[in-house]
């Protein structure tokens, strides 16, 4: 049995090493530890964005909010959205995308630019929603990598469900 265990350990170690080496050489490599593409201090680390998706940092998100040059979409759950969300953002939950998308078609089609966010940099819901929107042909879709947490931390404007 010891031989079986040792073989299993060697298999795990060898495969992991192989994966790490191939990833290092791959054009699609990702960091071993997620690192943020944000430059603002204190923001959460972000998952690597897939090719074709671009991220925006807190400063860019704030600019877009102040200029009203982008539609903000909240990819978190409806409960979390109702509790509080970025002022003016619409809720398009990642796990109920199909149920919500068609009700939001008009504002999404009218938007010149769309910024999607979820909890924080490590959250993948905003990426999932952004990918679906890109698949549907919306060209200007961005992921707010700092997300809700960095928005709150920077004391950005928020509102609760039903608030103006």
């Amino acid at each position: 049995m010891t031989g079986v265990l040792l073989g299993a350990l060697a298999l795990v170690a060898g495969s992991a090493a192989l994966g790490i080496v191939v990833n290092h050489l791959s054009p699609r490599r990702i960091p071993l530890l997620p690192t943020s593409t944000e430059t603002e201090a204190g923001e959460a680390p972000a998952l690597a964005l897939p090719p074709g998706l671009e991220g925006v940092g807190l400063a860019e998100a704030k600019r877009a909010f102040e200029d009203q040059s982008a539609l903000f979409l909240d990819a978190r759950s409806p409960d979390e959205y109702e509790e509080a969300h970025l002022a003016g953002a619409l809720n398009l939950p990642a796990y109920e995308f199909d149920d919500y998308f068609f009700d939001l078609m008009d504002p999404i089609e009218e938007a010149s630019r769309i910024i999607v966010y979820c909890h924080g940099g490590e959250c993948s819901d905003s990426i999932a929603v952004a990918e679906r929107l890109v698949e549907f042909g919306f060209p200007e879709v961005y992921v707010f990598e700092g997300g809700w947490r960095s928005w709150l931390k920077s004391e950005g404007a928020t509102e609760e469900e039903g608030a103006p």
Binding site: G3, V4, L5, L6, G7, A8, A10, L11, V12, G14, S15, A16, L18, G19, I20, V22, N23, S26, R28, R29, I30, P31, L32, L33, P34, P45, L47, A48, L49, P50, Y95, E96, E122, S124, I127, A128
Partner: protein
């Protein structure tokens, strides 16, 4: 009882178990190899691992699936490979069950989106449990079918 044991423990049954499970792991591991970012996101969707861990899993797990599957089929340290695969299946069962009990509606991540991946459900947890039983067969009754080296087959 002895008759049942002799049937379940027959080398041909062991060979079928190895080919089926090894084949599934090769089939599922291969397309994930060059998409570590997508695998990391799928893993993160289970909301179990800390974010610092998901990239490492996305980078290494597909290779472990592929290598263990290949070794199991070819017959290189088949019992060790069966142990590794049973361990992975155990993790999939645990992670999937937790996600389902918490009401998460997520992609399984088993066969990857572009290969027609399906939503995580109890049927997939049961499928993994059946695959664990097949691996137990290999662990208990090592088969010498297709051994890369007969000596290694019993390891």
């Amino acid at each position: 009882m002895t008759r049942v044991r002799s049937i379940v423990g027959h080398p041909a049954v062991g060979a079928v178990c190895r080919l089926v499970v090894g084949g599934i792991f090769i089939f599922t591991g291969y397309p994930k190899l060059l998409r570590p970012d997508d695998v990391a996101r799928l893993v993160y969707g289970y909301r179990i691992l800390h974010v610092d861990m998901v990239n490492l899993v996305g980078i290494t797990m597909p290779w472990l699936e592929l290598v263990a599957g290949l070794f199991l089929v070819i017959g290189i340290i088949p019992r060790s490979s069966a142990l590794v695969i049973a361990g992975m299946l155990g993790m999939f069962i645990g992670a999937g069950s937790l996600a389902l009990m918490r009401g998460l509606e997520i992609e399984c991540g088993c066969f990857f989106p572009f290969m027609g991946d399906s939503k995580l459900g109890w049927d997939l947890v049961v499928r993994d449990a059946i695959l664990v039983l097949l691996m137990l067969q290999v662990l208990i009754w090592p088969s010498t079918f297709l051994p890369a080296r007969r000596r290694a087959a019993v390891r």
